[in-house]
C-alpha cells in the first residue's frame, strides 16, 4: 500500500497538523511502510465472528453517587492558559476558515 501526497495532506488536515514539505514527503514514505507492515494482521484470515476488545478487564458500569463536590477554582484552572480574558480562555477569531 502506498499513501499519496494528497492522502497525507488529507490526514494531516483531519489531525490538525500543519506539515512542512519535507514532512509530507517523509510521511508518505514512512506511513506506507508502516501500513504495509500492520496489514500483516490480514494473514489471520476471517475474523467475522470474533468479538472486538475495547476494554480488556471485565468491569461493569462504574457508577458513583451524583453528589456536588468542590472543583478547581476558576483562577487555578486558568493559571496555565496562554491567554485569558473575562475569566475564560481567549483564542483568535475563527475567521474565514471557520476554525474547525
Amino acid at each position: 500500500m502506498s499513501l499519496s501526497r494528497d492522502q497525507v495532506l488529507h490526514v494531516a488536515r483531519l489531525a490538525r497538523l500543519e506539515l512542512s514539505e519535507d514532512e509530507v514527503e517523509r510521511f508518505s514514505d514512512e506511513l506506507s511502510k508502516v501500513f504495509d507492515w500492520v496489514e500483516t494482521i490480514n494473514e489471520l484470515g476471517d475474523l467475522e465472528d470474533v468479538e472486538p476488545t475495547s476494554h480488556v478487564v471485565a468491569v461493569e458500569n462504574a457508577l458513583r453517587a451524583d453528589e456536588p463536590a468542590p472543583s478547581l477554582p476558576q483562577e487555578v484552572a486558568l493559571a496555565a492558559a496562554p491567554d485569558v480574558a473575562q475569566g475564560g480562555f481567549r483564542v483568535p477569531s475563527p475567521g474565514a476558515g471557520g476554525g474547525g
Binding site: 497525507v8 497538523l17 496489514e39 480488556v56 475563527p94 476558515g97
Partner: protein
C-alpha cells in the same frame, strides 16, 4: 559511593526505623546524586531542603523518582514534549499522591520519550537519556529516565508507565526490576494519556522486594478513574526461594528466532535455574502473538490521535500562530509543539480511524486483540506463568534506530502481547550479554501480581545479578 546508597529501598526503610540513619540523610544523599546525574535521567530535581516526612509511614521518607508523564501539582510535568514545556499542573496524579501519602517524597521528574511514544528515550524534547552501563547506548523507553535513574543509583526507586513495554523494556536494558501490573490495578488519573485502554503505571526497583513494596503503595480503586480496580488481595512481601510445583510455559513465537543470541542464551540459562528450583518448563504456543505488535501499532496510535487532540494551544501549554485565525493557531501550535514520532503516531492513528478504513484497521485490530487475550487464557489451563526474554536485544547505540520506525517498534515484540491482554508481567535482571544487561520476563493471569512477584523473587535469588557496576560512575 557511600554504603547508604548501596541499600535497597526496603533496607533503607529498615535502617530509618531502627534509627541507624535519618530520612534527611537518605534524602540528601540521593538529592545530591540526582542533581549531579550525568545521564540526563531527570527533567527536574527537587530542591536540597529535605521535605517534611513521617518516618513511621510505610515508606519512611525514602524518596522516589517520578516519570514526567505524571501530573504533579506545581512541578513541571512535560511528558517529554515541547508542547508542555514548563507546564505546572493544578493537581497531582493519584499514583503519586498515594506514594507521597505513604511517606515517599518526590526526588525528581524523569525523562521519557515524548508522550511515552518510543523505546529508547531519544524521542524527548529534552534530549536523550544515556544508559548508565554504557553512555553511548540508549536506556530503552519510554520510561528510560526512571530506569536509568534507578540503575545508576541516583534514585532508590522510581515509577513509570507501560503502554506496550515502556516499563519492562527499559528495566531490562538497564539491569533493574520493572513491573507492569494488571490493567486497572493502579489509577490512571493524572497520568498524561497516551493509549487509554493500555496505559498502566508500575514500579522500577533494584530488586523484586522493592518493586512489590512500591507497587503495593500505589494499587487500588480510585473514584477518579472508573477503569481502576481493587486487587483481590494486598501486594505482599515476596519471599519464595523455590518454584516447587510451578508450571512455566515458553511460547515458541516469542523466543528463539528474532532474539539476539546472547539474550536467548541468558534466557535459556535462567529456564534451567527455574527447573533446578523445582519448576516444570515446557514449550507452548501463543499462535496470535506474532501479530500483536502490528495490532498494537493500529490500536495505540488510534487512541493516541484522539487523546492528543487536546493539545490545541487553548487551555495550557504552548501556543503558536496566534497572529492568524483559530484553525491556524491549532495547526501551528501542534506543528511547533509535537516531535516527529508523535506526529507519526497521530498520522497513523488518524488514518486508521478515518472514514472508509476504520473496519479494516481499528475494528480488525480489536478482534486480533481478542484472539491474543484468548491465547493467554488457554495457556493458563496448563501453566502458571509465561516466560520470555523481555527485549529481543541488549541496549543499542544512540541513533541506531532513530531513522527506522519499524526497527524501533520491534523492541517491544515480546512485551506487547501482555499489554494487549491486560495481564501483569515483570522484567528481572537476567545477567549480561556482551557486558550489557538482559531481562527475563514473567507474565501471569490478571491479578496474579503476588504469585509473579514470589516467583520472580525466587529466580532473582538464583540468578544473583550484580547491578553495582552501573552505580559506580
Amino acid at each position: 559511593m557511600s554504603e547508604l546508597l548501596e541499600l535497597t529501598a526496603a533496607q533503607a526503610i529498615d535502617a530509618i526505623r531502627r534509627g541507624e540513619v535519618t530520612s534527611e540523610a537518605v534524602w540528601s544523599a540521593y538529592r545530591e546524586r540526582a542533581a549531579a546525574d550525568e545521564n540526563n535521567s531527570y527533567t527536574w530535581v527537587a530542591r536540597p531542603e529535605a521535605p517534611a516526612v513521617e518516618e513511621r509511614a510505610p515508606l519512611a521518607g525514602v524518596p522516589v523518582a517520578v516519570k514526567d508523564l505524571f501530573a504533579t501539582e506545581g512541578i513541571p510535568s512535560q511528558a517529554g514534549s515541547k508542547i508542555l514545556e514548563d507546564y505546572r499542573p493544578p493537581y497531582t496524579a493519584t499514583a503519586v499522591e498515594r506514594i507521597t501519602g505513604a511517606g515517599a517524597p518526590i526526588l525528581g521528574k524523569t525523562n521519557q520519550d515524548e508522550f511515552a511514544m518510543g523505546s529508547s528515550t531519544e524521542h524527548s524534547a529534552y534530549g536523550p537519556t544515556l544508559n548508565p552501563w554504557d553512555r553511548t547506548r540508549v536506556p530503552g523507553g519510554s520510561s528510560g529516565g526512571s530506569a536509568a535513574a534507578v540503575a545508576a543509583g541516583t534514585a532508590p526507586w522510581a515509577i513509570g508507565t507501560d503502554t506496550g513495554g515502556s516499563i519492562r523494556q527499559p528495566a531490562a536494558l538497564c539491569g533493574i526490576v520493572g513491573m507492569k501490573p494488571t490493567y486497572g490495578a493502579v489509577s490512571r488519573f493524572g497520568m498524561i494519556a497516551f493509549a487509554s485502554s493500555l496505559d498502566q503505571c508500575g514500579p522500577f526497583a533494584r530488586d523484586v522486594a522493592d518493586a512489590a513494596l512500591l507497587l503495593g503503595a500505589m494499587v487500588g480503586k480510585d473514584p477518579r478513574d472508573s477503569t481502576s480496580l481493587g486487587l483481590p488481595e494486598p501486594i505482599g512481601t515476596p519471599s519464595a526461594t523455590d518454584l516447587q510445583g510451578i508450571r512455566i510455559g515458553v511460547p515458541e513465537e516469542l523466543t528463539g528466532e528474532g532474539i539476539e543470541p546472547g539474550v536467548q542464551k541468558a534466557f535459556e540459562a535462567t529456564l534451567e535455574l527455574a527447573k533446578e528450583l523445582g519448576a516444570t518448563v515446557e514449550p507452548t504456543k501463543l499462535p496470535h502473538a506474532p501479530h500483536a505488535l502490528a495490532a498494537y501499532y493500529i490500536l495505540a496510535p488510534a487512541e493516541a490521535s484522539s487523546n492528543l487532540a487536546r493539545y490545541d494551544g487553548v487551555r495550557y501549554g504552548l501556543r503558536a500562530g496566534a497572529d492568524g485565525d483559530l484553525l491556524h493557531m491549532y495547526t501551528a501550535t501542534r506543528e511547533a509543539g509535537f516531535g516527529p514520532e508523535v506526529k507519526r503516531r497521530i498520522m497513523i492513528g488518524t488514518y486508521a480511524l478515518s472514514s472508509g478504513y476504520y473496519d479494516a484497521y481499528y475494528g480488525r485490530a480489536q478482534k486480533v486483540r481478542t484472539r491474543i487475550a484468548e491465547d493467554f487464557r488457554t495457556a493458563w489451563d496448563s501453566f502458571d506463568f509465561i516466560a520470555t526474554p523481555t527485549s529481543p536485544t541488549v541496549a543499542f547505540e544512540l541513533g541506531a534506530k532513530l531513522d527506522d520506525p519499524l526497527a524501533m517498534y520491534l523492541n517491544d515484540f515480546c512485551a506487547v502481547p501482555m499489554s494487549l491482554a491486560g495481564i501483569p508481567a515483570i522484567s528481572i535482571p537476567n545477567g549480561l550479554a556482551d557486558g550489557l544487561p538482559t531481562g527475563f520476563q514473567l507474565a501471569g493471569p490478571a491479578f496474579s501480581e503476588n504469585r509473579i512477584l514470589d516467583a520472580a523473587h525466587a529466580l532473582e535469588q538464583a540468578i544473583g545479578f550484580d547491578g553495582s557496576k552501573a552505580r559506580q560512575a
